[in-house]
């Protein structure tokens, strides 16, 4: 039955309260542990298409008569257009149309960051479109850019009002402390660099628009495009069957979709607008840089008495101020906490969500601070974290729907205990050490989300829902869930997704929400189909429904009867069983979060500043695990992105002009296969008893969260140097080592570090 409730909806840590119509989630959870299909390794159902190069990404869509757009982007961080002449471009070979500022909202005369879209052309080929851009005559009045985040705060240049959080009394907490540590941490701007660049192909048929787009949110694109173009939403069809990575940067339609749609409308031909790698690194978002001025107070036994944080998010010209203080609010039981977050508005490219935005950065600061505290207190870092364990949500006192962080810590012990042995392997200039860091994040998903399941007379099933698989393997997980409920093997379940015209509304694939939002809807749909099959079977075999179930492709009865599924479905002929399912509500009055801990082992060459990550053990609690194989891939991917964030990736901006200097993948250094450590993944795999019919949370984001702090803490363990700034480049590593040497020189031999 449909039910109207008032609920909190969370995406990427941002909560909104809204009315929502949900359906009851009537199914009991499956028992814990591996089942027939769910909880067991499954290879990707679309693996062959992807591996053979047959999967058709947005980049591969070729429509008859399709034109190619190219976008003139601002070369300046802050400027005013004084003149613009598109005529030479329009006269260039192959050019069919051009757009100037004002013709669509996305194009601007007063760009506030390098890369802001100014004008666009469409031509027969992309080469012709690019060549035409060169002919556009643009006059600029350059203006002084604001680039320094602290200066922005001082001047009150914000994207939103500063956010404040307080519980207890910070000053009192500091007064009660035996030890206080204050430190400033900095994190850099990081670029998503999905391998498939942001792009869309737009094609009109009458007043209907089809948008092929590389996106994490088919329905969000549909609604935004319909809204901006003044179309009824169902006049916009959004298609994304295969998608080449997003990591948070593809949650909306972007300027390219509107440029393509307008150029297509004017020319009457389909138009592709695909960003180049350089545009990708200018104008599609980033993980914003942060400055974190933190303090912690603790009693000598390690009990935290105070946590304070002043955070500056260098957001950029637009965007939102992520909750960099979130981990400080949520991770530890501490009565006195005060957090201020500033979202600095700058003349730099806008940020976008990037895999656990805010929490990756905030965890680096907080978890390094905890280790600096542990060193001062001479308390074991793992023990310090256990002593301050939060048993309920500290922000509003709610119980957790489940929390197994203590179990994560227990399973971390054998990895943590390698510490002495690792340190003992230090040799010459290579010093070795071990560090750990914890993680808290959201990942419970929520309603609404819908799925249909169709079973045909051949006894095969199709899951139909207009979700997207951004590369995480969610298509495969949905097949597993439906297969489990229908008693089928995975290869008898097709998943049809990626098209708003061919399935019901489905969740965004962001905020670690695909599995926890979509999974329960798919299970409910499959259960609906299963119950219809059982109804028919009961009539056919003159048995009561309650004694029948579906297993291994058969209908089985409690007394041992077993009939192949096709015996019943075969009766359908052209008829079909149609099951329908919806995601039920989140557990009322509870907080659903994900947790974990990572233990890193590093080697540091103290003469050259080289840091090698040798091993990372990742232990995470994300509720029930649907596909352990795919889950381990997600963990590895998160850690490897985390290693890039920690050691080599950094967007650089010229301090004079505000121009982005690292636009290419030689200058912006993503990790290669040679940079990857041994990664050990352990998942607790304990269903969240309160969360949906699955008890599964999301795993996309948690693994990247603790990586940088675990590495930095391992570096401190190895060398005694406090690295407080990301990336830990050679320069930063050598600086920290120098600082540590000077500190040691000043301190009398044998004195405590404090």
């Amino acid at each position: 039955m449909a039910r109207l409730i008032r609920t909190e909806k969370e995406v990427e840590g941002r909560y909104t309260e809204q009315w929502i119509v949900v359906e009851e989630d009537a199914l009991d959870q499956w028992p814990a542990g591996p089942l027939e299909v769910v909880g067991r390794d499954a290879t990707r159902t679309d693996g062959l298409e992807r591996a053979r190069g047959e999967a058709r990404y947005t980049a591969d869509i070729q429509l008859p008569g399709m034109l190619h757009a190219a976008v003139l982007r601002s070369p300046h961080a802050r400027a005013r257009l004084t003149s613009l002449d598109l005529a030479p471009a329009l006269a260039a070979p192959g050019v069919r149309a051009a757009l100037s500022p004002g013709e669509i909202e996305q194009l601007t005369r007063e760009p506030g960051y390098m890369g802001a879209p100014v004008a666009a052309v469409a031509a027969d080929t992309f080469r012709e479109a690019r060549a035409a851009l060169e002919l556009i005559d643009a006059g600029w009045e350059e203006l002084e850019p604001l680039l320094d985040p602290d200066e922005a705060v001082a001047r009150g240049s914000f994207v939103s009002d500063p956010s404040r959080y307080e519980r207890g009394d910070l000053e009192r907490g500091l007064a009660e402390a035996d030890v206080v540590v204050e430190a400033e941490y900095r994190t850099q701007t990081v670029l998503h660099n999905s391998m498939e660049s942001h792009q869309a192909v737009c094609a009109w048929e009458g007043d209907s628009l089809t948008v092929y787009i590389s996106t994490q949110y088919i329905w969000g694109v549909r609604d935004d495009v319909a809204d901006q173009l003044g179309l009824p939403p169902d006049k916009v069809r959004v298609v994304c069957n295969f998608m080449g990575g997003g990591f948070g940067s593809k949650n909306g339609p972007g300027d390219y979709t509107f440029i393509a749609a307008e150029l297509a409308r004017r020319t009457g031909r389909p138009v592709r607008c695909a960003l180049t790698r350089r545009e990708e690194n200018l104008a599609t978002g980033n993980r914003n840089a942060t400055i974190q001025r933190l303090k912690v107070g603790a009693r000598s036994d390690g009990t935290l008495t105070a946590l304070g944080g002043d955070f500056v998010n260098a957001v950029g010209f637009r965007g939102w101020s992520p909750s960099t203080g979130g981990p400080m609010q949520m991770l530890y039981a501490c009565d006195n906490v005060r957090i201020v977050e500033h979202g600095a508005k700058l003349n730099t490219p806008p940020n976008a969500a990037f895999r656990a935005p805010g929490f990756v950065e905030g965890t680096f600061g907080l978890e390094c601070l905890m280790d600096e505290l542990a060193a001062k207190l001479d308390v074991d870092p793992l023990e310090l974290r256990r002593r301050n364990y939060a048993h309920s949500d500290l922000v509003d006192g709610r119980p957790f729907s489940s929390k197994n962080l203590a179990e994560c810590y227990r399973r971390a012990e054998p990895h943590w205990e390698r510490r002495k042995e690792v340190q003992a392997r230090s040799e010459g200039s290579w010093k070795r050490g071990v560090g750990l860091a914890s993680q808290v994040w959201y990942g419970g998903g929520g309603p609404p989300s819908y799925a249909w399941v169709r079973v045909g007379s051949d006894g095969h099933a199709a899951v139909i829902t207009a979700m997207q698989d951004i590369g995480t393997g969610s298509r495969t997980a949905m097949a597993q869930i439906a297969a489990e409920e229908l008693g089928l093997s995975v290869d008898r379940v097709e998943v049809s997704l990626g098209d708003s015209a061919r399935g019901p509304f489905a969740s965004i694939s962001a905020g670690s929400s695909t599995i926890p939002s979509m999974g329960p809807a798919v299970r409910a749909a499959a259960a609906d189909a299963a119950s219809q099959i059982i109804e028919i079977a009961a009539q056919r075999y003159h048995l009561e429904e309650r004694v029948l179930s579906l297993k291994s492709g058969h209908i089985v009865s409690a007394d041992g009867g077993s009939w192949p599924l096709e015996e019943i479905t075969g009766l359908l002929g052209d008829g079909q069983i149609l099951g329908k399912g919806a995601r039920g509500p989140n557990p009322a009055g509870m907080r659903t979060l994900t947790f974990g801990v990572q233990v890193a082992e590093v080697a540091v060459d103290v003469e050259t500043g080289e840091v090698r990550v040798d091993r990372i053990a990742a232990i995470h609690d994300v509720g029930r695990v649907i596909n352990p194989l795919g889950a381990s891939s997600q963990v590895e991917g998160g850690i490897i992105q985390g290693i890039g964030h920690t050691l080599s990736e950094q967007r650089l901006i010229d301090p004079g002009t505000g121009r982005v200097l690292t636009q290419t993948l030689d200058a912006y250094k993503l990790p290669t296969i040679a940079d990857v450590p041994e990664i050990v993944t352990e998942l607790i795999d304990e269903p969240d008893a309160h969360l949906t019919n699955l008890g599964a949370k999301g795993l996309g984001e948690p693994p990247i969260i603790p990586t940088s702090a675990a590495i930095a803490n391992a570096i401190r363990d190895a060398t005694g140097a406090d690295v407080r700034s990301l990336p830990i480049s050679r320069e930063e590593m050598l600086r920290a080592l120098r600082e540590a040497r000077e500190r040691e020189r000043r301190a009398p031999v044998g004195a405590a570090a404090s």
């Binding site: 693996g47 591996a51 053979r52 391998m195 590895e636 030689d666 290669t672 040679a674």
Partner: protein
């Protein structure tokens, strides 16, 4: 300027201007879209094809310089055991870099049927994967080399 191309064992005549890259020609003229373009300037390896068996960046190779050489794209390696190994090892996530990975890996196992871990890392370092499938890419290559080793033994 016309150009004779040998691609995956077939002969093709293309007529594109000097300056066109092999990647553009494969994708736009021959419809072989398995070769992906992700950076377009030779930095990421997504466009990797084999030229006479050697992994080559199609996005910075001018098509008029490959005459007489055999071009092998992912479409020509469709039945290579690495394809199956990549799926079994879960050595791909979004899959956009995967064709280039497999093209590079196929040349590696051809040249060195049982590569060490260091050899794999050395040979595959020019194929970036933003999803971070690297550990399983290594595993997939080892799967194939182990398989060829056991075949040799039997």
């Amino acid at each position: 300027m016309p150009e004779q191309l040998k691609v995956n064992g077939g002969a093709y005549q293309v007529d594109v201007p000097v300056g066109w890259t092999l990647a553009e020609t494969l994708r736009d003229e021959l419809g072989l879209t398995g070769t992906k373009i992700a950076c377009g300037e030779g930095h990421c390896g997504a466009c990797t094809v084999q030229l006479d068996g050697v992994p080559t960046l199609a996005c910075i190779t001018l098509v008029h310089t490959v005459s007489g050489r055999e071009v092998t794209t992912i479409e020509g390696l469709r039945h290579h055991p690495l394809v199956d190994a990549f799926v079994r090892a879960d050595a791909l996530q979004c899959g956009f870099c995967t064709p280039g990975q497999i093209v590079s890996a196929a040349a590696l196992v051809e040249a060195s049927p049982r590569p060490s871990r260091d050899e794999i890392r050395h040979a595959m370092a020019g194929n970036l994967c933003r999803c971070g499938a690297y550990p399983k890419i290594e595993e997939a290559i080892e799967m194939v080399s182990r398989h060829s080793a056991s075949e040799e033994a039997s």
